[in-house]
């Protein structure tokens, strides 16, 4: 490949790639994202290649391993284009049938189609699946169309056109104006206006400036940045190069956690390809603009997602935050002006340049523009990644896209924004999701995690879980975060184990206020959110634990007992086998079993296995 020396050469290459591809030729796309990968998608890909070889169809079919399609719950996912036929839970054994029936004979394999749980109808096309129907996949959509390791795929869908436009038709100031006008706000959690950040960094004094892409996504249950970096790394690179041009930086870093091996690998490949094509490095597209990107792998500390801790880590120091009284856009990495944005923010940039700020600003709410990718996890039917316009209600996301709660259980709360987000109750389900609305109800956008909880979730236990996570991830530098979270964790453990005292809730509130107000960084100043929001919306549960020594959801082991309901128990003995402690005995055949409370460790194995509802938890 010779390096592209001008915008014309880029367009010529793009045209030749598109021309060489027959839009009517069947293309089997298999999701190779981490979710589908762990479902065994690699075997499915191998089976397709083998079957195509066996049936001698090599010239007639393309096979493409793409990034994450988002519907992780139903993986491995296979989409056959151009007809957009959608198969889910595909095994290697299904492959010969798919080739023969769908590709050769033009029929669908009905048993692999997705069944709409609402209507019980089988759905043939990907875009008709309810999970995808209400989404607006502007940033994430190409994940399903391109192979992340093939730059030609990205070029074929218009890749690097925004970069070419910026370098040859726009001044850096005009780029910043465009991003400002679009209303784009940082997707990493803070929601700071991206254009204003860029402008401050451009105006900051100094010849050497840096760009950083924050791919240190560490929230439990959140994987949108990973999936973007894995599935469409060139879109992130393109955003970064545009940002570098606007700001006047010549060196960029991608800080990505080492637990994301596929993201690291695909980013490395993308950087190499972009360099070979003259889209990165010296004299990009012949414009005279130089910019390089290096990858720095993080060790997995949650706190390193905080910008100053990240920069310390990048410098080879201990990843601990520092005060930001002098902003990082003025003094960041190695004390030079540094502009840090997260993966999703960077990936939005080419879109804004290509489609225009006015177009972009029409999507979303008055103060939160564009779309946002959320990772829907927890007690939800359709686990996966969803991209929706800002302002969609929680109800639409959870019920229409997420398919509601499994097992007909009742919704209890949704936690947004990662471990330090708040738990939002049912009464706020009609809340339009954007930066400001989430903050109003005591939660936050964060990087876009959404953990759904059902009626069997204990909110005290949830608060304890998240505080335990944050306590473990606090760097320990400042007193309120280190000591305060430790005490919070002790109080919450006491409450959930039946040692709660009157005044504990008030103490938690007082402690929360101090941790929020006096911590050094955002980890500490947001950490009490799970506690405060659960107290705000589920205070009765705290009181039940403290005053009645009772866990209403039946979760906190020290406060619950399992009991056999004799009238319902036919003595089938399933629970006897399931009990790891031999606490249940079948005294007489076809008579109710007997549970020995002294031996019971409250693991719930009997409860899970009994289909007759003969075991109750109180």
């Amino acid at each position: 490949m010779t390096s592209l020396g001008s915008p014309d050469e880029l367009e010529t290459l793009r045209k030749s790639i598109i021309k060489s591809r027959d839009p009517n030729k069947p293309c089997i796309t298999i999701c190779g994202g981490t979710g589908c990968h762990s479902f065994g998608s690699e075997k499915v890909v191998a089976a397709f290649r083998q079957e195509i070889k066996t049936q001698k169809l090599g010239a007639k079919i393309d096979v493409r391993t793409t990034g994450c399609h988002g519907f992780c719950e139903r993986g491995p996912l296979v989409v056959i284009n151009p007809k957009n036929i959608f198969y889910q839970r595909v095994n290697a054994a299904d492959v010969p049938e798919i080739i023969t029936e769908t590709i050769v004979n033009g029929n669908t394999v009905d048993r692999l189609l997705y069944i709409d749980p609402g209507t019980a109808e089988k759905i043939t096309h990907e875009h008709e699946v309810p999970f995808y129907k209400k989404q607006k996949r502007l940033v994430f959509g190409n994940n399903g169309n391109i192979a992340p390791t093939v730059i030609e795929d990205y070029l074929a869908v218009g890749g690097y056109a925004a970069l070419s436009k910026v370098l040859f038709k726009m001044s850096p100031e005009a780029v910043i104006e465009e991003v400002k006008k679009s209303g784009l706000r940082g997707r990493g959690g803070g929601g700071f206006p991206t254009g204003i950040k860029w402008q401050s960094c451009r105006k900051a004094e100094g010849d050497t400036k840096y760009i950083i892409c924050n791919c240190d996504e560490g929230d439990p249950g959140a994987f949108m940045d990973r999936s973007l970096m894995e599935g469409n790394p060139h879109s992130v690179l393109e955003g970064m190069i545009i940002g570098a041009y606007a700001i006047g930086a010549h060196q960029g870093y991608i800080y990505v956690r080492n637990e994301y091996p596929l993201a690291v690998r695909n980013a490395q490949i993308a950087i190499k390809q972009a360099e070979e094509h003259g889209l990165l490095g010296e004299n990009i597209l012949g414009s005279g603009f130089d910019f390089n990107i290096r990858i720095s792998r993080g060790g997995g500390a949650f706190v390193c997602g905080e910008s100053t801790a990240l920069m310390a880590s990048l410098e080879g120091k201990v990843g601990e935050p520092r005060a930001k009284y002098v902003h990082t856009v003025e003094k960041g990495l190695w004390d030079k002006p540094t502009n840090l944005n997260n993966v999703e923010t960077w990936a939005n940039v080419p879109l804004i340049i290509n489609e225009g700020a006015d177009w972009y600003a029409k999507i979303g709410t008055p103060k939160s523009k564009g779309t946002k990718i959320f990772s829907l996890t927890g007690k939800i039917n359709n686990t996966g990644l969803v991209e929706v316009p800002m302002g969609m209600t929680l109800r639409e996301i959870i019920y229409d896209i997420g398919g509601g709660i499994p097992g007909g259980k009742k919704f209890k709360a949704v936690q947004t924004g990662g471990p330090s987000g708040g738990c939002i109750p049912e009464s706020s389900l009609n809340l339009p999701v954007d930066f400001d609305e989430l903050a109003k109800v005591g939660s936050m956008m964060g990087s876009g995690g959404m953990i759904v909880m059902d009626e069997n979730t204990c909110m005290v236990d949830i608060a304890r879980y998240f505080i335990a996570f944050l306590e473990g991830e606090s760097c320990g530098k400042c007193v309120p975060c280190r000591e305060g979270l430790k005490r919070m964790q002790q109080i919450l453990t006491d409450i959930s184990e039946g040692r709660g005292k009157n005044g504990d809730v008030e103490l938690l509130e007082r402690l929360s206020a101090a941790i929020i107000d006096s911590s050094l960084c955002a980890l500490g100043s947001t950490a009490p959110n799970p506690v405060l929001s659960t107290i705000r919306y589920f205070r009765d549960e705290y009181e039940a634990h403290i005053k009645d020594k009772r866990c209403p959801a039946g979760v906190c082991k020290e406060l619950i007992t399992y009991r056999i309901i004799d009238e319902k128990c036919p003595g089938c003995g399933l629970c006897v086998k399931a009990c790891p402690q031999e606490a249940i005995t079948l005294v007489q055949k076809k008579k109710p079993v007997v549970l020995d409370q002294d031996k019971c460790i409250k693991c719930g194995a009997c409860y899970d296995v009994c289909e007759l509802g003969a075991i109750e938890v109180k």
Binding site: R322, G472, E473, V479, P480, G484, L507, D517
Partner: protein
């Protein structure tokens, strides 16, 4: 020069100075534990929090880190500041029940006792890293540092063993704000006691008065660093010409 107001007092200050520095120069007291003018400000103990008013917005900042600016209005003892300081001192009292400095600060703030369970295995160290920072930034030895993360954080030498690079200068004990590091010279030996390790150093005898006056390892370090002849330290400072 900039003009700012600290607790209704108008104060002139160099640009770039921190609120804490300016307050100190003006004899205005702000409590702090992890600050020492010999090292780079760190902002860990949070006791020096003050409330500032800027662009109509009020917020808490660590005065040891916040650079002064024209027109800044600082409140050192606002209700919000005091509430936070009280909670911090309660947390520190529970962590370091044996530290007199912390007990005095608590008294000053009207905190009689801590609501939290008092720690058993740690009695004095607040993990402000002043010792480690001085050892690195001033002495240039880095014999001690903070290890582990979060609640497991500890001040330690490598592998919790007596450090092979420590020169026994005692700077750590000197700067420790809570008395967590102790140093004592007994006969010809200096003993430095840290929370997890005890180290001993042989002291040099003065050729003239016979007094044991400094650790040999420290004198060797200085001689090497400044390229001095070893005989320079034969006599103690009192017996030199």
């Amino acid at each position: 020069m900039v003009t700012l107001t600290i607790d209704r007092r108008e104060v002139q200050a160099e640009e770039g100075a921190t609120i804490l520095e300016v307050a100190k120069e003006s004899n205005i007291y702000i409590p702090s534990l992890c600050h020492n003018e010999g090292v780079i400000p760190y902002g860990a103990c949070r006791l020096c929090l003050v409330e500032i008013m800027r662009n109509g917005r009020q917020r808490l900042v660590a005065s040891c880190l916040y650079p002064v600016e024209e027109g800044l209005v600082v409140k050192i003892n606002s209700e919000r500041v005091i509430n936070n300081r009280k909670m911090i001192i309660e947390l520190l009292l529970a962590r370091c029940p044996d530290s007199e400095v912390i007990q005095d600060l608590a008294k000053q703030l009207g905190v009689k006792k801590t609501t939290f369970k008092v720690e058993e295995d740690n009695r004095k160290c607040i993990l402000c890293a002043l010792c480690a920072r001085v050892c690195e930034e001033v002495v240039g030895v880095s014999a001690i540092s903070l290890v582990n993360r979060g609640v497991d954080r500890q001040l330690a030498t490598p592998f919790y063993e007596p450090s092979v690079v420590c020169i026994g200068c005692g700077s750590c004990a000197y700067v420790c704000p809570t008395g967590a590091i102790e140093m004592e010279d007994v006969g010809d030996t200096r003993v430095v006691s840290m929370p997890h390790v005890k180290m001993e150093f042989k002291l040099k005898k003065c050729k003239t008065c016979g007094h044991y006056w400094a650790p040999e390892s420290q004198l060797d370090y200085i001689a090497k660093k400044w390229n001095l002849a070893p005989e320079v330290f034969d006599n103690c400072p009192n017996c030199r010409d």
